[in-house]
């Protein structure tokens, strides 16, 4: 019946195949169509119709070979049986993330607006030292507060702050390590590529089986895995781009590896690292809506409500709110980046 029967017969594996049992599984649509048109199940195939020797097609000829569905089922079973062990390791490691997100959201929402808004403006001034940027931030946050999106905007900001902070905390050292070890870079680059392309739900659903959906760390992990990439890449790049002549000079002064890193490489790479931080913050914001699918509070929830109920206005205002947050975060980090460059030039 199946194309590859002959192959298994020729290899003398027929007995092994039949011992494997496997009644062939459910009937396929193609079989049914063949039956409906009155013909036999196996049309006399020409060489043109030779099926791909895939698991499913080989299974049709030899019951002992797994079908692809057995493979996916096996993966699922393996994951479920390893669940408790994974939980023991991963749960405590990621718990601080839940705690930080919960506290930060609570702090930023519970603090009265007349303290929170001036505080944010003061932070903006401290970082950017530019009245224009402070004015922009005041105007944007004022607008969001004015249209009653204050709480949601604060929740979103709190999530971004925590996630971006952790990204920098982990990303910069990883980037430095990658710049110093070619082997680590060879391993790291494909991992970074994967992090940016893997659809978030592919790893979020298994994570729900590990933790509880109610844990803020679920969306924290989703945001961090996606947004950590630029800060790693740009730290790595920044350190590699440091002029070899400067390093040679540092060697000539008899600097140790540690001294070179802290006094020469990192200061010279700082503009690139800051550009990475800026990109990381932008990418965290890009994940806000996806994070809301795993119950992150904030503007993303309103966007989802707008989409699901076709309340175009709600979606547009919330979406515009996310854009506003992106603009102010971008301007603030860019202004501080410019300040670093200027202070370096002045030295």
């Amino acid at each position: 019946m199946a194309t590859y029967d002959g192959l298994f017969d020729a290899l003398g594996l027929r007995a092994w195949c039949d011992a494997g049992g496997g009644g062939g599984g459910p009937m396929s649509m193609a079989d049914l169509m063949a039956r409906a048109s009155g013909g036999s199940a196996a049309p006399a195939g020409s060489w043109w119709d030779l099926p791909l020797p895939s698991l499913n097609n080989l299974h049709a000829a030899c019951g002992a070979i797994w079908q692809t569905r057995d493979l996916t089922l096996g993966l699922e079973r393996a994951f479920l049986s390893a669940r408790d062990a994974l939980r023991i390791v991963l749960d405590p490691v990621t718990q601080p993330l839940s705690w930080m997100l919960r506290q930060m959201i609570w702090l930023m929402v519970a603090t009265p607006w007349f303290i929170m808004l001036p505080l944010l403006l003061a932070v903006t001034w401290a970082v950017a030292r530019s009245w224009r940027v402070v004015g922009l931030v005041a105007l944007s946050l004022g607008f969001l507060a004015f249209v009653d999106h204050y709480t949601e905007a604060m929740q979103t900001l709190a999530i971004i702050f925590v996630c971006a902070f952790i990204c920098v905390l982990i990303g910069v050292p990883v980037g430095i390590a990658m710049s110093r070890s070619a082997a680590l870079r060879r391993i790291g680059t494909p991992v970074l590529d994967m992090l940016q392309t893997l659809p978030a739900f592919v790893y979020l659903i298994p994570l729900i089986f590990l933790f509880s959906v109610t844990e803020p760390k679920l969306y924290g992990i989703a945001i961090i895995l996606y947004a950590i990439v630029p800060v790693i890449r740009l730290t790595d790049l920044g350190i590699r781009l440091v002029d070899p002549d400067v390093i040679e000079a540092a060697d000539a002064f008899g600097m140790t590896r540690g001294q070179k890193l802290w006094r020469v490489q990192i200061p010279l790479a700082l503009p690139n690292i800051m550009a990475g931080v800026n990109q990381t913050i932008m990418m965290s914001l890009a994940m806000v809506v996806i994070a809301s699918l795993v119950s992150a509070p904030g503007l993303g929830v309103l966007v989802l409500r707008g989409i699901r109920n076709l309340e175009l206005g709600v979606g547009l205002v919330a979406g515009f709110g996310i854009v506003l947050l992106a603009i102010i975060l971008d301007r603030v980090t860019k202004a501080s980046l410019a300040r670093i460059d200027v202070s370096r030039d002045g030295r």
């Binding site: 459910p26 009937m27 649509m29 409906a36 659903i205 699918l293 795993v294």
Partner: protein, 328 residues
Amino acid sequence: MRHLLSMTTLALGTALAVPAAAQDAPGTCGDLSIAQMGWTSAEIITEVAKFLLEQGYGCDVTLVKSDTIPAITSVAENGEPDIVTDLWLNSAGEAYTRLEAEGTMVTLANVLDPGGIEGWWIPTYLAEAHPELTTIQGVLDNPQLVGRFNNCPEGWGCRVVSDNLIRALDLEGAGIEVFNHGSGETLASSMGSAVSAQEPWFGYYWGPTVPLGKYDMTRIDLGGYDEAKFTPLQNPNAPDPQVSDFPEAPSVTAVTAALVDEQPEVVEFLRKMTFKTDELNTLLAWQDENSASAEEVAVHYLTTNTDAWSGWLSDEAKGKLSALLGQN
């Protein structure tokens, strides 16, 4: 994973359909498009409809992946797809009633008999260990046994009803934390996670769906359905909400008004196409046992329930499918 699988079968399905249609000489039917909702019962229903329309009526059917609101909007704006089935009226809401009133879409029949089941559920092992939890009063008296309430995501029709019920019952006052899910995926996986670890779970779900087919769940008695009490529950922030169970949710087949004029035979078939809710639950359980794709479930249904679907067909279509009907 399941999505990916069904996308692949969809692609394969269309690839196979082309030569089949070419052989059969399309006749009067021509191209048809059916909106295929993302959940499994809808996938099975549309696969069955596709097969019967192609093999029995010589149509060339395209299944379009969609969802309730996008499908209706698309019909309203573009007049495509021609057929929307497993359309849950209470989640389609006003968007659909308006289209029906304008005459753009025509409701043909209830595709589920008696209809979908909505409600608040706990796992059956929990109900067996604590029989008092099968009524809402028992849950309110023993909040520590059920943990938290898993609520619908923002923007779902059931969210409005459940929010009102939560206030009517004062669930939070009874000591049950309410957790608002961000999406249907997390709602389903929280249930799957709890049931596979034999932990307590309490929340909203609806059927026929894969999770309810796969996991043994018990519906909590909210004290029966009362239309007068339930209708106000569907408005956000209803004043003074009263407790009522969810009614059986009608799920219908609807087509564009144009199709009714152009394809009377196809419309007649769709008018008769009805699945028993129990039958679909059995199919979903069978699917899980065999880890089959929606297409394979459709094949299973078509080969084992010839009596049911042969009644939907016109005599001519029966003739074309006689090879299948005769064999069983």
